[in-house]
């Protein structure tokens, strides 16, 4: 363990002073999680098992669909479903309601856990560190269906190599190195395709 005793020090300036390009945190408006979700998540904090049951009924199909898409195995998908909801039960405060919908957050957590399971690796990101910002309101099933249509449209508009790179990275958890090896494309090209693919999805909701 590193132990550091701090004592009075002659004033010395750091070499790294203010980075003029550093911008203040932008406070773009975020859709608030619908109050029923928020109330249920608050209920989890006091151990309300009924609140957990309601959240499960509301979002288990989302979580299961994502896990099944990644893993392709119903038993393994069910295990991830259990793990994700147990984590929500144990750490409800990990979800930041100010930054987007619970459905989106659960979808990201589920996809990451499913990829960890697929790749047989230990989770590297704690759920408390998964902060995300989603513009469209995705609380209701109808909202999510409309959003899914838009995403499928945006994917259809991408070039085949870009769509393929994004899907290999997202649904198979392949690294950019693995994708580059498989496709024979340069590493930088793969990285850029993944990033621009994600941004294309964002833009689909800005028009």
């Amino acid at each position: 363990m590193f132990r550091s005793a701090l004592q009075i020090h002659q004033p010395v300036y750091f070499v790294h002073l203010v980075d003029k390009e550093e911008t203040e945190r932008l406070s773009s408006p975020q859709p608030q999680t619908t109050s029923p979700d928020l109330a249920l998540v608050t209920g989890l904090k006091s151990g309300d098992q009924g609140a957990m049951a309601q959240l499960y009924d509301r979002y288990s199909s989302v979580v299961y669909a994502v896990a099944l898409r990644v893993l392709g195995d119903t038993g393994a998908a069910e295990d991830v479903l259990q793990e994700v909801f147990l984590q929500l039960w144990r750490k409800p405060s990990a979800f930041d309601a100010a930054r987007g919908s619970l459905a989106s957050w659960l979808a990201v957590i589920t996809r990451n856990r499913a990829i960890d399971s697929l790749r047989k690796r230990r989770p590297e990101t704690d759920i408390e560190d998964v902060v995300l910002s989603v513009a469209p309101d995705l609380a209701g099933e109808a909202d999510r269906n409309r959003a899914a249509e838009k995403v499928r449209g945006a994917l259809g508009a991408m070039s085949a190599p870009q769509r393929s790179a994004l899907e290999m990275a997202y649904w198979q958890g392949m690294s950019h190195t693995e994708i580059a090896d498989k496709t024979g494309e340069p590493l930088g090209t793969i990285k850029t395709r993944i990033r621009s693919g994600l941004i294309a999805l964002r833009k689909a909701f800005q028009t």
Partner: protein
């Protein structure tokens, strides 16, 4: 190419949880100091969520619901009523027995993290959580005389030496845990706070928490958000605005390297 552009593609990989090793550590360090990149990361994660939500499939089997509800009932039974965590009271942190206090807290935090990871494994949940609960109870008993609000804390110093400001940082890099305790700190002007900095072996100082001393000049920081796995060359303290600063803007007042 600006620094932000340099990290743009890696941010997308990070958002997909697909950036590992040194690249991840380097980006973590940058994210700790760059609010624009943190915002972009949040948005890229949001974009990724849209991709996840575009998939549809069958509903989970009915047994999965019962399995979950049984598991949470059992979980609650084994852990007792949930208690909403509260911020530790600064006044708890006296100056006597710093090393013992910090060691106990760092160990407890580490154990808590391990406990959380272990509990995520369904197969091992019963035996492991019971063992860890016993260990946590032992730790609470050990720490009680140090952190109990009613405990007396007495500092013994040389009668000829006026008390000097002191800080002690305990940092576990591999567990990303930091406990910092300060004593005899001068009071601050309004709207100002002390800011602790982790000085990495390479790169810019990383914010490691803000603090204001209490009436006795004592303060503490427990487990501030830090990028994972950063090697610390030293720690330092500056005075900043009370909202904090991503980079030091005033002279170092106190500094110490690892022992």
């Amino acid at each position: 190419m600006t620094e932000h552009e340099q990290y743009a593609d890696d941010l997308a990989l990070y958002a997909l949880d697909a950036l590992h090793g040194e690249d991840r550590v380097r980006l973590d360090a940058h994210l700790a100091a760059c609010s624009a990149c943190r915002l972009e990361l949040e948005q890229l994660r949001g974009d990724a969520a849209l991709l996840a939500l575009s998939t549809t499939g069958p509903h989970p089997p009915q047994r999965a619901r019962k399995r979950l509800l049984d598991a949470i009932a059992k979980d609650q039974e084994s852990r007792g009523p949930k208690i909403v965590p509260t911020t530790p009271r600064r006044s708890w942190w006296g100056v006597l027995g710093w090393a013992a206090t910090a060691a106990v807290i760092v160990f407890a935090l580490s154990l808590w993290k391990e406990n959380a990871a272990l509990k995520s494994s369904l197969s091992a949940a019963n035996s492991e959580s019971a063992r860890n609960a016993r260990e946590l109870e032992d730790l609470r008993r050990i720490a009680a005389p140090i952190i109990a609000p009613e405990a007396q804390h007495i500092t013994l110093v040389s009668t000829k030496t006026p008390p000097q400001p002191q800080g002690k940082a305990f940092y576990l890099r591999n567990r990303n845990s930091l406990v910092f305790l300060a004593n005899n700190m001068p009071s601050l002007p309004p709207q100002k706070a002390y800011e602790l900095w982790l000085i990495p072996t390479t790169g810019a100082p990383i914010p490691a928490g803000l603090f204001k001393p209490d009436a006795h000049g004592s303060a503490s920081i427990v487990n501030p958000p830090l990028p994972a796995g950063v090697a610390a060359k030293s720690f330092a303290i500056t005075v900043e605005n009370e909202s904090g600063s991503p980079v030091p803007t005033s002279p170092i007042l106190m500094m110490g390297a690892g022992e």
